[in-house]
Symmetry: C2
Subunit: 159 residues, 2 copies
């Protein structure tokens, strides 16, 4: 492991797309430099936890909801997607767990508020990072069930 450190490898994170009747759950970020931006619940994977455990933990911390993970949408690792450094994200698709289905989400841990966004009306919203592109991939996924990554997304947008 001596060759691997924060200057040599991207740092892994997770994000989770929670869809409830074509309404997708976003949080508004409190912290600079992303204050006020809408993002999927997510965060850094800690040493000793799996990506899926991190995804479930972050949803719980930021929204108070339990989530069941169903799919991986893609892995986004463009070095410029996050201004803090080279941070890559595995994006899961999940649904609210049965025991949380009648609960209202409560914003916590860096989340100022919760917002359900209709996938038909995303142009009105201000998303952080590359989460708007990821949401577009998700909308495509609903039909194609394919998987995505940053440059697949980019070649699609520009070509």
């Amino acid at each position: 492991m001596s060759k691997q450190n924060e200057h040599k490898n991207p740092v892994p994170t997770v994000d989770t797309i929670i869809d409830n009747n074509s309404q997708v759950l976003f949080i508004k970020i409190i912290k600079e430099p992303f204050e006020g931006k809408m993002v999927f619940p997510g965060g850094f994977i800690k040493i000793g936890e799996t990506a899926e455990e991190a995804a479930i933990r972050e949803v719980k911390e930021e929204t108070s909801l339990d989530v069941d993970l169903d799919h991986i949408l893609g892995v986004y690792s463009d070095p410029k997607r996050d201004s803090r450094g080279h941070i890559m994200s595995t994006v899961f698709i999940g649904k609210i767990s049965p025991n949380s289905q009648n609960k209202e989400p409560i914003a916590g841990d860096g989340a100022a508020s919760i917002k359900w966004v209709n996938v038909e009306a995303i142009e009105q919203e201000d998303f952080g990072f590359d989460h708007k592109d990821i949401l577009k991939d998700y909308i495509e996924w609903k039909n194609s069930k394919q998987t995505f990554w940053s440059s697949r997304n980019k070649s699609k947008t520009t070509g």
Copy 2:
């Protein structure tokens, strides 16, 4: 980024499954502690490159072949999957690029040799890391087209 370092986050790698008529390409590792084990071509993602770039680079370095990536099979991040530390892998599924289709793969960069493994005959082989489980997931993927992660795999094996 000050909070993120090699002791706080898993280190990200990539692996690529290359299938040619139900023969999957493996390399035999030279280096200890995995000497002689069969693994998918792959390796660490470097700062500044995407996961997909790393996958293509590693296939080229280890097999001399160009590969086109088509899908993500899954993200494997069990902390115990690699004895060197907490190392997670995004596993792509690809095919040999048109310009490499008539070339024989040549082992390089840590690969002692190349072996095409028939997916019907995997029990005879000695795989490194969790690559046998990943190969089983891939065989399932060929029918289901679902995505996988370490604990989804594990719950399937044990339950």
